[in-house]
Every structure is written in C-alpha cells, then in structure tokens.
Symmetry: C2
Subunit: 185 residues, 2 copies
DNA sequence: TTCCAGAAGTTGCTACGACAACTAATTTCC
DNA sequence: GGAAATTAGTTGTCGTAGCAACTTCTGGAA
C-alpha cells in the first residue's frame, strides 16, 4: 500500500523550504509543490521534475495500470495478459506474432504471456499445420467464460476513467499524445 | 528493434477484413485501424482496444520512455535512475525515503536504484548520524559532472516532446490526466 | 535440389513497478 | 525504563518492456 514512509514527504518539503529561496524565476500551480528550490549546485536547471510532462504521463499510466490490476486480480489475470485475452474475445485463432502486431508488443513478451495464460487454462497454443513455426491461440471454455466477467469489468473501468471528461477533451488528449509520440520518433 | 515480424501486421488486418463485416455500429478515426471486427463469439463487446484511452496512454508512455532511454544509454544511466539523479542535481543529501516521496516511487525500487547508482560511482550512500536507519545520498564528483551533460539532454528531450503543442493543449492534457487519476482512486 | 535468407518462437538478461515479509533502529507510551 | 508500535531500508517474487542471441522452419534463388 504505502510506497514510502509518509513522514518523508513532509520532511522533504520542510527542508526544501528551509534551505532554499522561496522565490524562483518560474511560478508553478501544481498543488503538491509547496515551495520552489533554487539551484545552488552549479548545474543549470531550467526545468523542474514537475515540468516534465513525460513524467506526469508515466505516473498517470502507473496509476491507471495499478487500479485495473487490482480489479483483475480476483480473476487471476494481469493487466497485459488481459489485453491478449481481449484480442481473443474479439476472435481467437491468431498466432502469437499476430497478437504482438495487434497489441504493438514485443513478440517475446507475448510468447511469455501466452505461455502463462495457457498454464492458467485460459487458452491453448496449437501449432499451425501449414507453418509449424507458428502457434495459434485458441480460447478454452474457461477462457471464454472468463470474458463474460472481465469484459464488462474492463468497460466499466474505462467509463470510470473518462467520467466527467468531455469527448472534446478526450480528443485533445489523444491528438496531443499522438503528436508527442511522433515528435520523438 | 523489431517488436514483431512485420508480415504479421498485414496478415492480421487482411484476415480481419476478410472474415469480418467492414461496417460496425461505431465509426473510428484511428488511422492504424483498417477495418472493424464484428464480434461473433457471443461475448458482448461494446468497446474495442482502440477505444481504451488507458491503453493509448500506456503506449505513449512506453514510446517516450524508450526514446529517452536511448538518449541516456551512452551516459550509462537508465530513465528512472536519471530521475533520482535529477533530484540530487537540484540538491543532494536527501535520504532514500525522501527521494521516494519526491518521486512518488516505491522505496524498495529507490533503494535498488540508489545501490545501482552507487555501484556506478555517481553517488555515495551515507548513514545519517542522528538516525542510523537512514541513508543519505550524496553526489560524487563523477555524478556532478554527469549532470552537466544529462540535464541539458533531458531538457532538450522535453522540448522535443512538446514541440508544436500549445500551452493550452498541454494544460488540457495535464488537467485531464489528473482527472483520470482522481476518477480511479 | 540444395543452400541461404528471413520468419516464428524461445531463452536469457536488465530495468522497473508493486507487494509481502523481513531486520534494525527509533519513538511512543505505560 | 522497557515493551510495543513505527520507521528506514533490504530481500524475494511476479509481471511487464525491450534487447540480443539462439533454434527451427519455410520459401526463394542459384
């Protein structure tokens, strides 16, 4: 539950406020920051950690992943394993490589997830007769039944995530995140 | 480099288009989707993978992380290790627990990162005299010199990420992501 | 037909992230 | 003053993510 011992947070900012100038050349509105450190170390810092939007995106991702993880745990399913299952619930019989392409994931990880899901009895891995290198993934009855519970759960989670956020805002977020991806590639 | 063997992507969509109805109750604008599967399996799917904004956020995070990872690699620094160093470049002497609070990270992972960074010679871990449980992290000369190169690199990366994105758009993204985090907690 | 390039999948390794369970040091409270 | 609770840090485990190197299989070129 507790990532760090709570007192540390207060002490961090107390010491920061004590040791450093309260004023800084930039003003910040992020509420968790109580005061702004001035850099004495000689290294020119123009940005603070709170300014890096990539850090904020990362934290958001972790928060969302951690919550869906909790909801999936009772079903013996990890978040990314769930994505493999989601593809199969749309329709099964895809090869691991096709699943990897669909999910934009590394084939090695998809292979490990598929092996794990097969161990749990949610799917079977069947070598393709026309190409014995390929493994097709088919839902077992257990895997199909799992979908009856987990698909609604996933959709409820999505609705929870976007509740109170307008379609326009969602569109802006998608477009901006897409642009960020293009910007760095 | 190549996450999956490229042919699989084409084959996924070729088969999907062949097997499934091209029309669907919902229309999508995400360009990577060529056609829309209709669900035959009996499981009621109202959302497709492309609709889950959390998946999109996750992919964005992975893309950004992977790019900064490449840029940091020549400096023998991993992305999250870099965040620990960023805190220390602001000012050093924080305990591991304080660093964890500042970065909103699990103290176990901060401990391992600190040990790793100490092995690399970028910092030293000094037990505090007043409380011998705590380890304070201090930059070594090597660690301080690293900042001279890496801080500008990180700031250039941030500018690259947000280039062509207005302040207003960034504000919307921050506000929406914040709301999503609140929505699930 | 044989050989070679490429494709599908696997194994091993490193880096996180999260959690449980642990040691050791420090506070709290009776 | 001493037992109990709390805190800082560590170790182990599992689930991703990404990369290198490998085997096996396939299909195309000579």
């Amino acid at each position: 539950m507790q990532k760090y011992n709570r007192a540390a947070n207060a002490s961090f900012f107390v010491r920061a406020c004590f040791l450093f100038d309260r004023k800084s050349k930039v003003s910040y509105t992020h509420e968790q920051i109580e005061c702004v450190a001035t850099n004495f170390g000689g290294i020119g810092l123009n940005l603070r950690l709170e300014d890096y939007i990539s850090i904020f995106i990362h934290e958001t991702d972790l928060t969302l992943t951690s919550e869906i993880k909790k909801k999936l745990e009772p079903h013996n399913l990890a978040p990314e394993q769930n994505l493999v299952m989601m593809v199969l619930w749309e329709s099964d019989g895809w090869t691991q490589n096709e699943i990897a392409a669909r999910l934009n994931k590394d084939k090695t990880n998809v292979a490990r997830m598929a092996a794990n899901l097969a161990d749990k009895g949610f799917l079977t891995r069947v070598p393709r007769t026309e190409d014995r290198r390929s493994l097709q993934l088919f839902l077992t009855e257990k895997g199909r039944e799992l979908g009856e519970e987990v698909v609604p759960l996933a959709e409820r989670f999505h609705n929870q995530v976007v509740s109170g956020i307008t379609e326009e805002e969602q569109a802006v977020v998608r477009q901006v995140l897409q642009r960020m991806q293009r910007n760095v590639q």
